[in-house]
């Protein structure tokens, strides 16, 4: 048994030695600098990119009683680097703590860089860093990303991650911006048959904003004044094979979100032209999409035919023409109007995608798959080409849930 004891003791020494050196991955939580937002711009140097980092200050807003801290809630750093993984190391010459991408929530790419062919090659590096999670969002900014972060100064959210979290979530729920996570970006890229929509945002307002209909804005066009932060998140950028080709307005984005079953939009408030008024009044309605669309395709023959049926539940909220909705006749008119309006909008949009973009910005090709037996047949069909020739019909199944409260006309005084 002496031998056994000796061996045991040796092993123990060995283990202790390991413990002395060990803990290789250990890092104290306050030792890190957390990057909330990352900005990518084209750099003046060939082959490099300009990386902007938005860092959060954990002390601000964390202690209940208020730490009495006079530090700023965030820190923004911009510099040139080869790629944003090496940027972590370079950044440490400016930033005191160890940069970590664990809390990265949003990656903002400037429009000019997104239109660059080189963009996708650099962007693929994102998958290599294990810290960056695939549910991080991708946004395109009109101006340079470095300026975007500096101009973005939310007045009510002192902690930057909260601001982006709220803005993005609510924007997606409203349907104004697409759910553009890295996960979907790479999935669409690998699939290769559809286009990808990324959120569009800006912190600089347009010089002379026009007043358009409720949703036909793109980011920066909404004339919002007052004591607020100028950042806006509306509309989307269309990506083909990793390169940005065009933009869509908020309304078009919302239509795509309705067509796309894989987004989770909650109820949307829309404006629909009132059929009962003569002077272009619009009434507000709440659109709820609770079931998935039905897509049927007839893919044989020269021109493939696609039939999309969208089931929508509508709740009429406002009633500017003071119509009495208890009459069946009025109900029918309104129903037809809504269906026709949405149908026209969608068909117009899809036509635009067929001709201008030459591709569909949401995974419509998935519906086509079930008509083929094997992958080879599917490849022969070549969705990309066939879509441009396709004949698309959109039908809207409207079910009006509620007509709104006020039905009677108000009395006029002195009548």
């Amino acid at each position: 048994m002496k031998k056994k004891e000796a061996v045991c003791r040796l092993l123990l020494f060995f283990v202790i030695v390991c413990l002395l050196t060990g803990c290789w991955d250990r890092q104290e939580i306050e030792d890190k600098a957390y990057v909330i937002g990352l900005g990518l711009d084209r750099s003046k140097d060939e082959g490099k990119i300009k990386v902007t980092m938005l860092l959060a200050n954990p002390e601000v807003g964390s202690m209940q009683g208020g730490g009495g801290s006079t530090e700023k809630p965030r820190e923004i750093v911009s510099f040139d680097a080869n790629d944003f993984i090496a940027a972590k190391a370079t950044g440490n010459s400016v930033i005191s703590r160890d940069i970590s991408y664990e809390l990265l929530k949003i990656i903002v790419v400037s429009e000019e860089y997104a239109k660059d062919k080189e963009f996708i090659r650099k962007f693929y590096d994102i998958l290599k860093d294990k810290d960056i999670r695939l549910d991080c969002h991708l946004a395109i900014s009109k101006e340079k990303a470095s300026e975007y972060f500096i101009n973005n100064q939310p007045k009510m959210e002192t902690r930057p991650h909260k601001y982006f979290q709220f803005m993005i979530n609510h924007g997606i729920e409203n349907g104004f911006i697409p759910d553009s996570t890295l996960f979907r970006f790479f999935k669409t890229l690998e699939r290769g048959t559809d286009f990808f929509l990324a959120m569009y945002t800006t912190a600089a307002m347009e010089k002379n904003p026009q007043i358009k209909s409720e949703d036909e804005y793109m980011a920066g066009q909404l004339d919002a004044t007052g004591e607020l932060d100028a950042t806006q998140f509306i509309g989307s950028a269309v990506f083909r094979n990793g390169m940005m080709i065009d933009k869509l307005t908020g309304q078009e984005t919302r239509n795509i979100n309705i067509l796309d079953d894989s987004t989770n939009i909650h109820d949307i408030l829309v404006d629909i032209p009132d059929p009962f008024s003569d002077d272009q009044l619009q009434f507000a309605a709440r659109v709820m999409k609770t079931e998935s669309n039905k897509v049927e395709m007839d893919l044989k023959g020269q021109r493939p035919k696609i039939f999309i049926t969208i089931p929508l539940k509508i709740e009429i909220i406002s009633n500017p023409s003071m119509v009495n909705y208890t009459e069946k006749k009025n109900q029918q008119i309104v129903k037809k109007q809504i269906a026709a309006h949405i149908k026209t909008l969608n068909e117009k949009l899809l036509k635009k995608t067929q001709t201008k973009f030459k591709g569909v910005p949401y995974p419509l090709s998935m519906y086509a798959r079930k008509y083929f037996g094997t992958i080879q047949e599917y490849k022969k069909f070549n969705w990309g080409k066939s879509y441009q020739k396709a004949d698309i019909h959109v039908k809207v199944d409207v079910e009006i849930v509620d007509y709104g409260k006020r039905i009677k006309k108000p009395r006029t005084v002195g009548a």
């Binding site: 060990g22 104290e28 959060a56 601000v60």
Partner: protein, 513 residues
């Protein structure tokens, strides 16, 4: 060759220490003999054995038995006997007896009577509180049970507190303890066997079991184990527990130690064996599995939904007590991405001013908590609450204000400390607290990977523990027939079988229908 050289070398190094002792052979020889029929000789022998009159509480009462007209003396230890019963049952009857003939058995009216002849045996009985009667000319000595030991009365259980159910606890008098068990199981097959262990103090152990339920092999194993103890004294049941265990150095207990009679009786009814001892306000239940230590009688006394709720709570408490601090260390040091961002910012913000790394923080607080806990147990009652408040104030508020520790560490430590109180078994409690420290070290070394790398071998170790031949996690694994009362407790109507790993003679508790 090597062995021949090494063995004597080791023997020399590990030799038993030799002491110069006085020889006791004379006394031992004396005790091997029988008593004589000579009155004076007996008197002298016993006076010398007991060192009378130096020993003031050993009394010798000489008298003449009226009817038989012979000299007799009784010898007893006054502090251990019931003087009343001696007087009524023995003295009065003997002295005041008129009938000329008759055996001593028929004269005395003491409820229990026995005879013995060996001096050593008689001495043992006298030290146990038995009164010995020596009659001139009689080679036998008459022994009467007159033991009356003073001690606490039956009180509420202090350590195993339950809300619903009987609140009695064992006390130091073994008579009371046996009575408590007997009144719950009124069966003639309930056997209380006595065995004397230890040579100098002659402590006796009582085995309580039901003859027609318990497995004979198991019983024999336990009896052999008890008989093999060669020591001078075993003062308390807890020390006996350590002698009996197969792995006394293991962290986890393999014998159940409880102070509640209702627990003891429920185990007897399943086929276990219970050990009692004088001066121990508790009993040992063998064999014991992990489940016997983990379940509490309250699970069964409460209605099924409530009992299961309490049980889940206890499971949660087990995990929280063992893993809360190690998880905190592992997650904040190695897996930071797991924390929701708001919480992460909060933790990072408060930790900025703390000078110590989080492992050191947790260790400090854990040790402080253990100190408070032990101190709280022994604090005199008048100032108890004050100390509690001071402790909470000092260690909690002030430490955070002074930036020695961050507030979330206090929450983690408080949670884990409080949860460990839910496990009522004393040994298991310590086991969990100590393993928590082990886990803290491993989590600091390798994060979650380290914790799992300790947990799985820990599971292997636990599974290989055996308590008198029964695996520690039986009947869950290896699988045996049982009442299926492991994680979820069913309605009593469904608990039909006794645990199969005990091999009881009657496995069915309830017949169907």
């Amino acid at each position: 060759m090597k062995k021949k050289v090494l063995k004597p070398l080791f023997k020399k190094l590990n030799a038993e220490p030799q002491f110069s002792e006085e020889s006791n052979t004379q006394d031992i020889e004396l005790k091997k003999q029988d008593i004589s029929s000579n009155y004076d000789q007996n008197l002298a022998t016993f006076k010398s054995i007991f060192s009378i009159p130096k020993n003031i509480d050993i009394k010798v009462r000489e008298f003449i038995i009226g009817s038989l007209d012979r000299r007799a003396f009784i010898i007893f230890i006054s502090t251990m006997v019931d003087a009343q019963s001696i007087q009524e049952g023995i003295m009065e009857k003997l002295i005041g007896n008129d009938q000329p003939s008759g055996k001593i058995q028929n004269i005395t009216s003491s409820p229990s009577e026995r005879t013995a002849t060996n001096i050593g045996e008689i001495t043992e009985f006298i030290t146990g509180g038995v009164t010995a009667l020596f009659v001139d000319g009689d080679t036998q000595c008459y022994l009467f049970e007159t033991t009356k030991i003073t001690g606490r009365s039956i009180e509420k259980s202090d350590n195993e507190v339950i809300v619903k159910g009987a609140k009695e606890a064992f006390n130091e008098k073994v008579i009371d303890n046996i009575a408590l068990i007997r009144k719950k199981i009124r069966n003639e097959n309930l056997i209380v066997e006595a065995k004397v262990i230890s040579k100098r103090s002659r402590n006796d152990v009582f085995l309580v079991y039901e003859k027609d339920l318990v497995n004979d092999e198991l019983l024999q194993t336990i009896k052999d184990k008890i008989a093999s103890i060669q020591t001078d004294r075993i003062l308390d049941l807890s020390i006996l527990e350590q002698y009996l265990e197969e792995r006394p150095r293991s962290l986890f207990p393999s014998i159940l130690y409880t102070e509640r009679p209702d627990r003891a009786t429920s185990f007897i009814e399943e086929g276990h064996i219970v050990l009692l001892m004088t001066n121990s306000p508790s009993c040992l239940v063998l064999p014991a599995t992990f489940w016997s230590m983990f379940h509490s009688p309250e699970d069964h006394y409460l209605r099924t939904p409530y009992g299961n709720f309490i049980r889940f709570l206890r499971f949660q408490a087990l995990f929280v007590a063992m893993f809360a601090s190690p998880l905190y260390i592992a997650i904040t040091n190695y897996h930071v991405g797991m924390i929701p961002p708001d919480l992460l910012m909060a933790i990072a913000g408060t930790r900025e001013r703390v000078p110590f790394p989080s492992t050191v923080e947790i260790l400090m607080m854990e040790i402080a908590f253990e100190l408070i806990r032990e101190a709280g147990l022994r604090v005199p009652t008048p100032i108890g609450p004050t100390i509690g408040i001071v402790g909470a104030l000092i260690l909690g508020q002030a430490a955070v204000q002074a930036n020695i520790i961050s507030p979330i560490v206090i929450i983690v430590i408080a949670l884990s400390g409080l949860s460990s109180f839910i496990i009522s078994d004393v040994s298991m409690n310590f086991a969990i607290r100590i393993t928590r420290f082990l886990f803290i070290f491993v989590a600091a070394f390798m994060g979650i990977y380290g914790a799992i790398a300790l947990f799985v071998p820990g599971l292997f170790y636990l599974v290989s523990l055996k308590s008198f031949g029964i695996p520690y996690f039986a009947p869950m694994t290896p699988h045996f027939i049982s009442s299926k009362d492991l994680i979820i407790r069913h309605v009593p109507m469904k608990e039909r079988f006794r645990p199969g790993y005990l091999n009881p003679k009657d496995t069915v508790k309830q017949r169907k229908g």
